[in-house]
């Protein structure tokens, strides 16, 4: 407990120091004027926090920072609180224009330029964890880069893949896609096995899946891929993988 108090005490001067370090002064100040009848202030950046104050129509507010879909504002008397981005989008700035802050919706999902996500599932009976990032080349076509780790009872597999993804219906809330790609696989047998033999091979894969938009800037992605491992032996190996995960888009 004394350590916890000490940590808190040590941090107190750090706040003022941090402000100076990142130069919060001398930058352009974002100020907005309330145009609706009132604007609710909450004590924290979530709808669970209580409303403790309201701004009247015509009042000027200074924007301090943003966390997810909440914005911290300060009024002319130095009071601070959190307002929702949706409410703040009803204000005007010093140029008299409506503030152009948007909460991502289905429309922005259809127009996304980049996405990234984490997925989990099964690769040939073993657990797989994967992360990816993708860039949209057109509204239908994107290029992706994947990294996967597969932990089976007999081996640990690492896999890197690059692939192209085609979605025929970019405007649909639940949008199917097809994918085709190549990559490389590293197989490391478990230490407890009698004859551990490391190997690495090139792979090719094809798959299909769906993206389902939930809300804000995230969506669920699920897919099935069929991998072909190009071995030096007379036959190639095959593996089927399914994964499900959560992605964000920008």
């Amino acid at each position: 407990m004394p350590i916890a108090i000490l940590m808190i005490l040590l941090l107190l001067p750090a706040q003022s120091w941090a402000g100076g370090l990142w130069g919060s002064e001398g930058q352009d100040v974002a100020r907005v004027q309330v145009t609706e009848a009132y604007l609710s202030w909450r004590t924290g950046p979530a709808s669970g926090y209580p409303v403790f104050h309201t701004s009247e129509k015509g009042e000027w507010l200074t924007i301090l920072q943003r966390k997810t879909n909440w914005i911290k504002v300060m009024d002319s008397r130095g009071r601070e609180g959190w307002v929702s981005v949706a409410d703040l989008a009803q204000t005007v700035d010093v140029t008299g224009e409506t503030v152009s802050l948007q909460v991502p919706d289905l429309d922005s999902f259809g127009k996304r330029r980049a996405e990234a996500g984490l997925m989990m599932g099964e690769f040939d009976g073993a657990a797989v964890m994967a992360g990816y990032g993708g860039l949209w080349l057109t509204r239908n076509l994107s290029a992706e880069l994947w990294g996967s780790q597969i932990l089976g009872s007999a081996s640990e597999i690492r896999m890197v893949n690059g692939n192209l993804v085609h979605q025929p219906f970019p405007d649909w809330r639940i949008s199917p896609f097809f994918t085709l790609g190549i990559g490389h696989i590293w197989v490391e047998p478990k230490a407890s096995l009698a004859q551990p033999e490391e190997r690495d091979n090139s792979i090719g894969h094809a798959g299909l899946g769906i993206r389902a938009y939930i809300t804000d800037r995230y969506f669920i992605r699920a897919e099935v891929k069929d991998y072909k491992v190009f071995t030096t032996r007379s036959t190639n190996e095959e593996a089927t993988e399914w994964k499900i995960g959560l992605s964000i888009f920008f």
């Binding site: 916890a4 940590m7 808190i8 941090l11 750090a14 706040q15 941090a18 352009d28 100040v29 974002a30 100020r31 907005v32 004590t43 924290g44 950046p45 979530a46 709808s47 669970g48 926090y49 924007i63 301090l64 920072q65 943003r66 966390k67 997810t68 879909n69 909440w70 914005i71 911290k72 700035d93 010093v94 140029t95 224009e97 503030v99 152009s100 802050l101 984490l118 989990m120 073993a126 657990a127 964890m129 992360g131 780790q149 932990l151 009872s153 640990e156 478990k190 230490a191 407890s192 809300t215 804000d216 800037r217 995230y218 959560l246 964000i248």
Partner: protein, 214 residues
Amino acid sequence: MENRTKHLFLKPLCLAAGLCTAAAGQAQEDRPLIEPDVTPVPVTEALIDTENFEIGAFVGVLNIEDFESSLLYGGKLTYHLSESFFFEAGVGFAEGGETSFEKLAGDVEVLTDSERDYSYYNINLGYNVLPGEAFLTENYAFNTNFYLIAGAGATEFAGDTRFTLNAGAGYQVLLTDSVSVHFGVRQHFYDIDVLGEEKTSVNTEVSTGLSVFF
């Protein structure tokens, strides 16, 4: 007489003074009353400091099944998707001790020293179930979050890398909008066969950490 002389001189003087102030007043009206100290800029996304990422370090105790308890330290990176959901990627390092068998038998070693090094990574999804406030004094409150978190990753211990699930809960106290303290409890689950038959090892982590939003 004196009065008339005063009148004679004061009248033009007053007139002149009056004209001067009027002229001065007109000149002033052309300029704004208060010079703005900020240049008018339209409010855009780029102008607002968005702090959805959080980076932190933690220290605690990890109870490694069959291999005693160990000091645990690590780091994590969090991305807040919304006010409720967040992604968290974490790494942790600990060291396994001796099994009861090794202690009783004396000169036996189940694992080598390097095999006792314990490290894990995990990727988790968290959910803020109870956003709240902790009142320090009459006038000061800290925002808090009680969250549930679960995910998967890998643990490297006893010579192998094992698929590991983890689940737990945490309490976050925001000292400022950018700095917070975490208190957490996690359970890590993986299958291991180092001591005979394969079994699910359940390891408990209790930790506390500091994090900074950016």
